[in-house]
Subunit: 434 residues, 2 copies
């Protein structure tokens, strides 16, 4: 262990005053650690390097939004809001308020000027308080605009005539889709990711509170286990099929590939100027029939995926990060990676070279009423243009991928334009309103 | 920081062989930490003291089940199973298999003899694999038997005539109850708690896999933020009203009080011999109307709770753990803690001195379809006898507690008898089948 990392972090204020007040948080955590109290929160806080008091803070400002190439945090709360006001000024006010709140929460601060406990005693608090004493938890809050923000029932909204990006299509129906309308779509989609679910839930909940009277929650989804790495410093996690997922994902370090496949803006087919530094978010709730999967042989499981279950190596040989050899054949003359293997159908070589940055999570939402867990993968991807980077691949998989045909069911869908990052003093999506 | 804690833990096997294979887990985590990779998993593993390679393992065997007085972990997956077989031997086989699996998973091992990847290639794996490479995560698996295991439709099952404990009552209807049948009841209830939700979900999922053909999932519930401390070493967490919750909870250190209020068995009114070392589990899904709460003044919020929002101190003065003074009056002659304050109505002084060990979690399950988050508290309590230790208090609160009347709605309910702990070679609930 690096000795510097065993130093106590400098005490810092977070969630205004409460750390000092209650003796919890980073300073309290170190005390807790010394006393042998090995809570995860204490460890996370205590291990923050002394010279980086913001070790659990992901910067909010930048040319692109946080929460895309940010090393994928462990927990997700994503929500879609329907904007209920039709007033352009009210929408802009909402986006400004949400921007300020997202910035504050990303830094581990409360929302509003007076937070949960320091405001007037006879007014509702400006923060809901359940994150008091918790660290920033690497929170990122990422906003995206659905088609419904631009137009509804064929009519433009908020004076945004002609501003809907061409790439913000209505997704086609894919074979096997079984979409639930009340889990799909939404005018504004917000992805909150953090290492602590209470921090992520607090973020969405306070945006809902701030949006009262202007926006309402259409759907919300928790995710608990990231199913992709977005940094070469992360281990590849496992999905609920028990396989490593996202081995071949685009990573933050792949700057050229990110420019080619993830970032939208001028010079691209989705070239609206206000989308410079933006992207497109695809979210799909994919129910996994895990009970059927669990009664399938290891041979069939590996064949369907095209990788080993233990290490995630391609069935053509090598280790996890070895490139699959789709032409290599076994003694029986058949390709070692089957023609319908998921790794083949999802691979860039089979999809005109397109790549995506995946950022999905495992989910378990109670039971299905039929004796099974309602569990699966909440798929999230960021792409330059869904017309080239999502629709063709998903159409091919929905038609040919045995895994998709027999073990998966898409139960929700959303597509939204991710505006670029915010500069200090700016607000999310401001280019759209110029 | 204690220097001993910055030592690398002794490499240990966990999730059979995979740690060594993939270079992750405790040993890998230390390497990761040295390389500056501050994942929570790495931190949790690396901070395990060198002389306690089992720092993230909660012992499975003992006179009482783990997961009751165990310091409350951060995450919950609870599920209720309906037993579909009527064969006594099959039920006993299931309980034996579940016991073995729970013991293995509690130790960070896979289920079955060959786990996820080491079994015959043409058979379904004996573990589902999504916890490969993860630590034991302080997993506890706690089993409880609902009334439906003893009798259904007025007929005894499994030869258990006359064995249903008197204390395992059918809970009465409480005013305001809005219970969903498909989220309530269940023949066997399993509480899986861990510091990593993927570990807790893996546990329930593998029990469901093992139970195929004998038991099916009736309901399942995730929880993300513990709302009670069960050890004096833990900070009091906050619920989704933003208040500290469970300040006055029974703790593991209160051994006399636990004997008085939590543990069942001979010499008590619920005195069946097989319940020696057992308890009763009450689970209630309590929807919080957080949107209305968030528009309520700080004054009203504190008045309804009877404590300050910042520190959780009683409104009669002092600090968090100061005993409330229910008789103390303010200048206006009114009691500082109102007659309908939650802390008053829930306090032992108002409830014949009864106490409970609470072990609930915050939950957020999507949205309610009406523009709001479906969020609240998944209440869990362990009590000696629900007739004395739950029903009277809940009846009083349902009738008088303004908080309950205006801001809470009970949407599910379950009561189950928690058998005692398991000794090596035994199985859960074996006393019931003697």
């Amino acid at each position: 262990m690096d000795p510097a990392q065993s130093e106590a972090p400098a005490p810092r204020m977070s969630r205004r005053g409460l750390l000092a007040l209650a003796g919890v948080g980073s300073a309290g955590a170190v005390a807790g650690l010394a006393a042998g109290l090995l809570t995860q929160d204490a460890l996370a806080a205590a291990a923050t390097p002394a010279d980086a008091g913001t070790g659990d803070v992901v910067p909010f400002h930048g040319p692109t939004q946080a929460g895309i190439t940010t090393a994928a945090q462990d927990r997700l709360h994503m929500a879609a809001f329907d904007v209920t006001t039709e007033d352009r000024a009210a929408l802009i006010r909402l986006l400004k308020d949400w921007t300020a709140a997202a910035e504050a929460m990303s830094q581990g601060r409360e929302t509003g000027a007076t937070g949960a406990v320091d405001g007037p005693y006879d007014a509702p608090p400006e923060d809901t308080g359940e994150a008091l004493g918790l660290s920033a938890g690497k929170l990122t809050v990422t906003f995206a605009f659905g088609a419904g923000l631009f137009e509804k029932d064929g009519k433009a909204r908020f004076g945004l005539e002609g501003r809907r990006p061409d790439a913000l299509i209505d997704l086609p129906h894919f074979p096997g889709d079984d979409l639930q309308a009340n889990r799909s779509g939404g005018d504004i989609i917000v992805q909150a990711c953090a290492d602590d679910p209470q921090v992520a839930v607090h973020a969405i909940r306070n945006l809902a509170r701030i949006g009262f009277g202007k926006a309402r929650v259409r759907w919300s989804q928790l995710g608990f286990g990231r199913t992709s790495s977005t940094s070469r410093n992360q281990q590849t996690p496992r999905n609920l099929f028990g396989f490593k997922d996202g081995t071949n994902n685009l990573k933050a370090e792949d700057t050229d590939l990110l420019n080619e496949h993830v970032w939208a803006g001028p010079g691209t087919r989705s070239g609206e100027a206000w989308m410079q530094g933006g992207s497109y978010l695809v979210a799909r709730r994919i129910r996994m029939h895990i009970e059927i999967w669990d009664r399938t042989s290891l041979r069939e499981q590996e064949g369907l995926i095209g990788r080993t279950k233990s290490e995630g190596s391609p069935l053509s040989g090598g280790k996890e990060f070895t490139s699959p050899d789709f032409s290599l054949k076994g003694k029986d003359g058949e390709p070692l990676i089957g023609m319908d293997a998921h790794v083949r159908l999802a691979h860039a070589d089979q999809n005109d070279g397109v790549r995506m940055l995946r950022r999905g999570y495992n989910y378990t939402d109670g039971s299905d009423g039929l004796g099974h867990l309602d569990a699966g993968l909440f798929f999230i991807a960021f792409v330059k243009d869904p017309r080239t980077h999502y629709v063709p691949m998903q159409m091919a998989m929905a038609k040919q991928d045995t895994l998709a045909l027999e073990y998966l069911k898409h139960t929700s869908s959303a597509l939204a334009a991710v505006p670029p990052g915010v500069q200090p003093g700016g607000f999310i999506g401001e280019g759209l309103f110029r």
